[in-house]
Amino acid sequence: MSLLKVENIHKRFGDLEVLKGVSFEVEKGETKVIIGPSGTGKSTLLHCINQLTTPDDGRIFLDGVEVTGQHTNINKLRAQMGFVFQDFNLFAHLTAMENVRLGPVKVKKMPKKEATKLAIEVLGKVGLGDKANAYPAQLSGGQQQRVSIARALAMSPKLILFDEPTSALDPELIGDVLEVMIELAKEGMTMLVVSHEMGFARSVADEIIFMEHGVIVEQGPPEKLFTAPEHKRTGEFLHKITELYGETN
């Protein structure tokens, strides 16, 4: 059984149908990267999976439990899915350590002392052990994003959703964040990543999903998509994006 199963998701905002029936699965330990032009509903899809946006139609299962069900405890399910935002969304009034600790204490009811230890440990893992007492506004963008990855990790999630984690960062700060993500992938964390970083996608992803106009055009292993795509659009997009962002990062 796959860890995440997305079935025929539809979402419409007013007259605009952003998602027109998207289905795919993510296996445990797998890293999937969703690519595609902006405005094709990639972010909306991630928001739907975490129920931060409610889809109009379709079903989503995490580890066999329906996320979209009327009677599911969504907070409990969200605690099992990390979410890393494009613009970090660190809690501005809390230090890095407190940001990471908040979820375990408030949602998992972990004792504060234990949670503090965990938070410091996880911050160390993303290379920010020395920044535990800094407030978000005192950190660089790359550091903030790593704290927000730590915040997700501290919940020991079954899966982490990354919504363009590097696109709000200055080029020289992207490397640190990608490094942390590569490390996580190696350790077997299940990840679903929306990204424009083709180098990352190519080297880390087990599979790439190419989305356009609210539907999945093509999915498959990176080498196949990069070298012998089935659809003309996939090739065109990959060609354009590699020109824009470069082959590796």
């Binding site: 931060l52 907070n75 605690a79 935002f85 501005a92 009034h93 979820g103 949602v107 978000p136 950190l139």
Partner: protein
């Protein structure tokens, strides 16, 4: 003259305590009620948010003195009898709640939307997210307007003398109506108000500095 003025001071001091008591109680009513009204307006259903808006409209659009007289003369005709000082606290409290609700609402709205998303994404419930993430930031933002409101209520609390409460203003009136030295008495009263306003202002500045979030400019979280 000095001796005369000194002879007024004990009474004026008693009055000042009443003034401070009324001000602090009404501000507390205002904070609690104001937060709930703001939350009701933002997160409540249609009916709740409509009710909260109407409340704010009414209490901000009509004179405070009229609201006080309603509590003092109006409520007894409905069979509700309150002591004059309670009337004062109630009217001032309900009034400031409407203004504070708007300050809180503005502050909550200026906390970035992503903060709520991030809180929900780690599995917090809506009340938890409001309590642990939104309010701590919004309350900091609201401190400057809240300070302003506190000083305003301190000054406006003087209207309770019109419903027979012997606050600082009331004690001043009582003394002056006996000796007809209105100017002298009320200059002393004015100086006491000036002093208290000054002290409270200093304390509030201290509070603002203490609660500032490192790395963020004063008062803004965006």
């Amino acid at each position: 003259m000095i001796a005369t003025i000194i002879s007024w001071l004990p009474a004026l001091f008693r009055g000042l305590l009443i003034t401070l008591e009324i001000t602090s109680v009404c501000i507390l009513i205002g904070i609690v009620l104001g937060i709930f009204i703001a939350l009701g307006k933002l997160y409540g259903g249609r009916f709740v948010s409509l009710f909260c808006s109407a409340y704010v409209q009414f209490f901000r659009g009509t004179p405070l003195l009229v609201q006080l007289l309603m509590a003092y003369y109006g409520l007894p005709s409905w069979g509700i009898r309150l002591s004059p000082i309670t009337c004062g606290m109630l009217a001032l409290g309900l009034n400031t709640a409407a203004y504070q609700a708007e300050y809180f609402r503005g502050a909550i709205q200026s906390v970035k939307g992503g903060q709520m998303l991030a809180a929900r994404s780690i599995g917090m419930s809506l009340p938890q997210a409001i309590r642990c993430v939104i309010l701590p930031q919004a309350l900091r933002l609201v401190i400057p307007s809240w300070s302003n409101e506190l000083i305003l209520m301190l000054k406006y609390s003087s209207i309770v003398y019109m419903v027979t409460v012997l606050d600082l203003m009331g004690e001043g009136m009582r003394i002056a109506s006996h000796n007809f030295l209105y100017i002298q008495v009320f200059i002393v009263v004015a100086i006491i108000y000036l002093g208290i306003v000054f002290i409270i202002n200093q304390l509030l500045h201290l509070l603002e500095r203490r609660t500032r979030i490192p790395g963020l400019g004063g008062g803004t979280l965006n």
